[in-house]
Symmetry: C2
Subunit: 315 residues, 2 copies
Amino acid sequence: MTALGYVPNAGARAMKLRRSGTVGAIFPTVDNAIFAKAIDALQRRLAESGMQLLLATTGYDPETETRQALNLLTRGVDALVLCGTGQPEELLQQLRQRGVPVVHVMSWPAPQELVAVGFDNARAMAQVVRYLLDLGHRRIAMLAGITRDNDRAAARVAGVRDALQAAGLGLPPAYLVERKYDLGAARDGLRALLQADPRPTAVICGNDVLAFGALLEANRLGVAVPAQLSIVGFDDLELASHLQPALTTVRVPAEAMWRLAAERVIEALRGAEVPRATEIDVSLVVRGSTAPPPPRAKRDLRPTPPRAATPARRR
Amino acid sequence: MTALGYVPNAGARAMKLRRSGTVGAIFPTVDNAIFAKAIDALQRRLAESGMQLLLATTGYDPETETRQALNLLTRGVDALVLCGTGQPEELLQQLRQRGVPVVHVMSWPAPQELVAVGFDNARAMAQVVRYLLDLGHRRIAMLAGITRDNDRAAARVAGVRDALQAAGLGLPPAYLVERKYDLGAARDGLRALLQADPRPTAVICGNDVLAFGALLEANRLGVAVPAQLSIVGFDDLELASHLQPALTTVRVPAEAMWRLAAERVIEALRGAEVPRATEIDVSLVVRGSTAPPPPRAKRDLRPTPPRAATPARRR
DNA sequence: CTGTTAGCGCCTTCAA
DNA sequence: TTGAAGGCGCTAACAG
């Protein structure tokens, strides 16, 4: 019978068994190494249990996320994996009443009723801030991702802001810039931050892509990293350790986290009681892009006399 | 009725309509920006036509590719998108007799009976070789991807080899190294090539990831790019234009190519007659990582007296 | 242990 | 225009 090339029909199978062996995952985009890793890990773990991944992307738009979620449900997915916990309430409610298992990844803590596997974005950033403070930095700026409709990006900004406030500092408007996660935007963001007066001695980036852009732009502008400017990223992508200087960043065990998310899905589909929120540990990896601030900048917190902003040479 | 949260059941629908509205795509891996772009483009174009992407990966293993293809068919995909044309004959035959539309992407030309959208990997590389020859290079080496089970990687090596041979040169074993597509392996590969005597004055890389690694390693070793060593990549990933020096590379219009592949799928599912093989134009983008060879190296083709190999400092 | 059958939810056809 | 019914391919329950 296999000689005849028979393969079962999944539609009929799904109809009878009332499950499709298919899990949906919705990502903001797939064009970011951190999500590529996620897809990879999810896909592999699900495949090990004979399940297939159905992929959808939202372009960071919550309405699209809702549409895609319903689309996937129509497609008969047995469960959903979502990024973060910031989904529209109406969507969450609909998923709840439909009884589809949902696992939220990358955020922790999470609202009571959600199943989540993630890390504490704010706490991680607070750790970064404390590290920079310990080095002697006082002028700490942030090159953040777009926080709108992105609970992780927002939590990272909040973490930085709160930690700075706790240290008697703050995050003034000129020290906070939001940019898309691409190298061009990141470079532009760094230039904007370098216009601030006094100029920051350290820039915390919302993720490694932003940090790569910042690093490249600093190199181009002749701003020495880390001597004149410290840069910190988030994610620890492969490239982070290869750049020169190597990037100090927050390591996220993405592979393990997404694998665990897949496991939660599988448990839930087995009918097992799954833990609500699971925290994944992240840690600061110190490399060459951070150092104490230059002596002149260390002295005080008050504005230095205005200087001409570094002119942005054309590429 | 939508107020009750009704969504149709895709299984039943698929059964009745004899199509699932689902297209399968099989990639070697998703953890490479070039494939991430591909997934993104495919997914978007299919979504525009109300179709959903089912994703599978092979880890560059042809057996896994066969298994995944059958898996996807079981899942009821209406069509398949595959990378390259190097699939096992038994798989292609099975797909043919089953009558599933299949589109092969990234390779051109393709065997008569296949529907393909791709570019001529060998010709693109020949163009790179000619460019380097015109600059005056004679010692041209290649840092290739793993060619086994990868028709694109193999075609790129063949393109380089043939073009060198046509110029009365060749690609001796010491000038050809194959490495996985990751930065660590690429750096190692560059070190290996730099041991060759005489040392190459230009290195053509199988893709941009390898080129990034080569560039980073050259920087670390203090080998000036492009003054002492020219480096060429393939793909034109975002990072290529941002690195210092910016990478000379072959631009592949990935977005357009994958979109067209999706279009071919859609046409085929409409029952339209689809063009067999469509060639996508690629072009060399000259940036800062290539220049004429250093004067000393330019002189002759014969081995220079052996020197100590560049010692590989630890990172 | 093997063989038969009902029904999963939808769409299309045919009847009223 | 609205309504009823068959069958897509499978599995599980049940009969022989």
